[in-house]
C-alpha cells in the first residue's frame, strides 16, 4: 500500500496540465485495484484534468502563496463532516452533503470545490462533487463539462446508469458529476423519487464515498429547496460584509435545523485565530489524519 500511495502522492504533486494520460490511467488502474475490497469500484469512463491555473484565474482556487492557509480552513471544515459521515451506524445519507447559501456570489462553488479537494486528499476516502446548480453550472463550465450529460439526464431517463455519467479527475478520489442539460422543470426532477433513488445508489456503491452537492442559492432557486431533503448534512456558506443578515436568517429558516451542521464564513477579514495566518498550530486527529 505504501508504495502505491507514495506513487499517487508523487503523481498528485506533479499533477496539473503536464500530467500524461498514460500515467493517469495507470494511477486509476492502480487505485481501482488497490481498493478492490471496498465494494464494486467503477472506473469512470472519462477522466479530465483539473487545470489549477485556470481554476485560480476563474476564482475557484485561492491566490498563490495562500494554499497552506486555505488547506487549514478546509481541514477545519471537513473534519466534523467526515466524522459524522463515517461514524459507526451513521445513516448512509450522512455521506450526502449539501453546500448551500442564501444568495449568489457568496463563495458556494469555491467552498464546494475546495472542500472536495480537501476530502479527496484523505487517503481512504473518495468524493463525488455534483454540480447541482443546473442553471449556472459553474463547476461544469470551469471544468469544461457543462455540455456533458449529468444528473438531470439520469433522473429524466431511468435507463441511464448514474455511475456511467461520473467523470473522473486527475486527482485521486475526486470525481465530478455534471448537472446535465436543463430543459426546464429541474426542480420537479430534483424533487422526484428517482432523485432519491439515485442519491441512495451513489452512496451505496462505495461506503467510503462522500457526495457533495454544489447547489443553487436557496433564496433564488427552487431546485436548491427541492434538494434540501436529500442530504444528511448541510453546510451554509455566507460572505462577510456581503450577505445580508436577513437573507442568511431566511435561508436558515428554509433548512432543516438538524441537518444544518454549520456555517462557512467567507471573506472573513479578521479572525480571533491567529493560526489562520500561517502559524503552526497543533491540529487534533480526526478520521483521515492530518496530512496535507
Amino acid at each position: 500500500m505504501g508504495v502505491i500511495e507514495s506513487a499517487l502522492e508523487k503523481l498528485r504533486r506533479n499533477g496539473g496540465a503536464a500530467e500524461s494520460t498514460v500515467i493517469r490511467q495507470q494511477a486509476v488502474a492502480l487505485e481501482s485495484w488497490s481498493s478492490a475490497g471496498g465494494g464494486p469500484e467503477v472506473v469512470p469512463s472519462r477522466v479530465i484534468t483539473l487545470d489549477r491555473t485556470r481554476l485560480r484565474a476563474a476564482g475557484y482556487l485561492p491566490e498563490v502563496g495562500h494554499e497552506l492557509r486555505f488547506a487549514d480552513y478546509y481541514r477545519e471544515i471537513k473534519r466534523p463532516l467526515i466524522q459524522r459521515a463515517l461514524a459507526a451506524g451513521a445513516p448512509a445519507n450522512q455521506r450526502l452533503i449539501l453546500v448551500a447559501s442564501s444568495l449568489p456570489a457568496e463563495g458556494k462553488t469555491f467552498t464546494a470545490l475546495n472542500l472536495a479537494l480537501s476530502i479527496a486528499r484523505e487517503r481512504d476516502l473518495s468524493v463525488l462533487l455534483i454540480d447541482a446548480d443546473f442553471v449556472k453550472a459553474q463547476i461544469g463550465r470551469v471544468l469544461g463539462v457543462h455540455e456533458e450529460p449529468g444528473l438531470l439526464d439520469a433522473i429524466a431517463d431511468p435507463s441511464l446508469d448514474i455511475e456511467s455519467l461520473v467523470i473522473g479527475t486527475n486527482i485521486k478520489g475526486l470525481d465530478i458529476l455534471p448537472g446535465g442539460r436543463t430543459s426546464g422543470g429541474a426542480a420537479e426532477l430534483v424533487g422526484s423519487g428517482r432523485m432519491s433513488e439515485i442519491a441512495a445508489r451513489l452512496v451505496a456503491r462505495n461506503p467510503r464515498r462522500l457526495v457533495l452537492f454544489d447547489s443553487a442559492p436557496l433564496l433564488v432557486s427552487s431546485e436548491a429547496r427541492a434538494l434540501n431533503h436529500l442530504p444528511g448534512q448541510i453546510i451554509l456558506v455566507a460572505r462577510s460584509g456581503v450577505t445580508p443578515r436577513r437573507a442568511l436568517q431566511e435561508a436558515i429558516a428554509q433548512l432543516d435545523n438538524k441537518k444544518l451542521k454549520g456555517l462557512v464564513l467567507n471573506n472573513a477579514y479578521a479572525t480571533s485565530h491567529s493560526h489562520y495566518y500561517g502559524y503552526p498550530v497543533p491540529v487534533g486527529r480526526g478520521p483521515g489524519g492530518d496530512m496535507v
Binding site: 485561492p62 462577510s240 460584509g241 456555517l263
Partner: protein, 543 residues
Amino acid sequence: MNPSLQQLFDQFVGVWRYRWPAVGAAMVAAFVGWGIVFSMPDRYEAETQVLVDSRTALKPALKDLTNDQDVGVQLSYVQQSLLVDAQLCRIVNAAGMLPECAADPGAAQIPLAQIRKRIQMAVQSIDDRSGQPGSAGATFDITYQDEDRGHAFKVVSVLLDTLIAQTMGGKRQGSEHAQEFLGSQLKEYEKRLQTSEDKLAAFKSQHLGLLPNDDGGYFAQMQKENQAVAEAKITLLMAQNRRATLEGQLHGNAAVLASSVVQPSNANGSPATDTASEIAATQAHLDELLLKFTDKHPDVIATRAALASLKARRAAEIVSLRSGDAAAAAATGASSNPVFQSIQLALNKTDVEIADLRTQLEQHESKAHDLHQLVDTAPQVEAEYSQLTRDYDINKAQYAALLSSYDKSKLGQSADAAGSVGFHIVQPPTVSFKPVSPKRSALLAEVLVVALAAGLALAYALDQFNPVLGSASAVAQLTGLTVLAEVGPAFPTRAKVISRRELRHVSIAIVCLVAVFLIELSLSGAGLRLDIPALQHMVRTWV
C-alpha cells in the same frame, strides 16, 4: 481582536458598502446648501443705544414724597407694544416700507412678522449703589437688520423716537390715570365719611345717656352704682351706730355726772340756779348753822327741811334727766354743762349726716335701679355705637390715606414734568457699511460639514436598513450556528488593490468637495452672489 473594536469594524464594513450613495448624497446636499447660501440676500444692521436714567437729582429729593412709577415696567410694556402689528405697521410706514399694511394690517402679517423677527431690543438694567436691580435706570439697545441700509436706519430711528415718546407719554398717562382714580375714590370716601358722621351724630342724640362715656360703659357704670349703694349703706349704718352711742352717752351716767357737778359761780356773781348748787349751798349753810346752834334750833330744822326737799327735787331731776327730758336738763343745768353740750352737738351733727346719707343712698339706689332696668337695651346700643364709631374711623383713615396718595401723585407728575426720568441717547442710530448677515464663510463651512454628515448618516441608515454579516462571532451570535471556519479572502492581493482604489476614489471625491468649498470661500469674499429669485424668495421666508 477586542470585541467592541470588532463590532465597530463590522459596522464600518457595513457602512463602507454604501460609500458611493454617501458621497453622492453629500455632494448633492453640499451643492444645494451652497446655492442657498449664495442666494441669501445681504443684510445691514442699524443700531442705536439709549440710556434711560431714572436717577436724576430730583429723585432722592422726592423720595417718599411721590409715588414712584417703575420706569422699567413702563419700558418693557412699551417695548412689547412697539412690536404689535398695528404699531409696527405705523413704524415701518414711517420708515417708508410696506405701504400696503396701513390699509390692511391683516394682509401684511407675514412681512410684518419677518420684520419683527429682525428687530431686537435688549434692556440691560443698571444698578446703583443700593444694589437694587434697575434702580439707576437701564440701557436700551435697538438693532434691526434689513437688506436696504436706508430702511434699516429709518426703522431704528423711528423705533427710538417712538420708544421715548411712548415711555414718557405712558408715564404721564399712568399718573393721570392714577390721579383720576384717586380723585374719584376721594369723592366716594368723602361721601361715605359724611354718611357715617351723620349716622353717628343721629345715634348719639337718640341714645343720649346710654352711650358709654369717659367713665366707661354700661356695665362699668352699673357696677359703680352698686358699689356706691353698698358704700352709702355702710356709711349710713356707721352714722346710725354713732348716733346711738352719742344718745346713750347723753342720757346715761355722763349726764347725771354732769348735772351733779357744782358749777362755779358765774362771773357776774349771781348765784347758781341749778339744784345741785342749791343743795351744796344749803348744805354749807346747814353746816355753818350747826356750828352755832344745836339741832333744835329752828334755823337748823328749817335748813334741814329745805335740804331734804332739795335732795328730793334732785332725785326727781335725775329721773327726768335719765328719761332725756331737755327741760329737765335745762332745769338741772346739765345743758349748760360743756360735756353735755358737746355730746349734744355731736348728736345733732350725726342726725344731719344720717339724713344726708339717706338721701344719697336713695339717689344711688334709684340710679342702680334705672340701670338695672336697662340691662337689655344698653349693651345693644353700646354695640351699635361702637360699630358706627368703627365705620367712621375706617372711613376717616382711608380718606386720609387717599388724600395723601393723591397729593403724592400730583407732586410726582410735576416732578416728571420737571424731568425725574431722563433719556440720553448713547449712540444715535447708525448703519454698518458692511453687511452683517449672512456670515457666508461660516455658513459655507456648516453646509460642508452638514453635507458630509448627511452622507455618512445616509450610509449608516442604509446599512441599518440592510445589515450584512460581520465577524464570525457576530454571525454565530446572530444565527446560533457553529461557524465551521472563517475563510479569509481568497485573493487578498486583489482585494487590497480594489479596496485601496475605492478608498482613493472616495478620498478624491471628498477632497474635491473640500476644494470646491475653498474656492467658494474666496468667491464669497470677492462678492459672488447667486441671483435666483425663486431661491431668494424661499430663503427670505425661511430666514
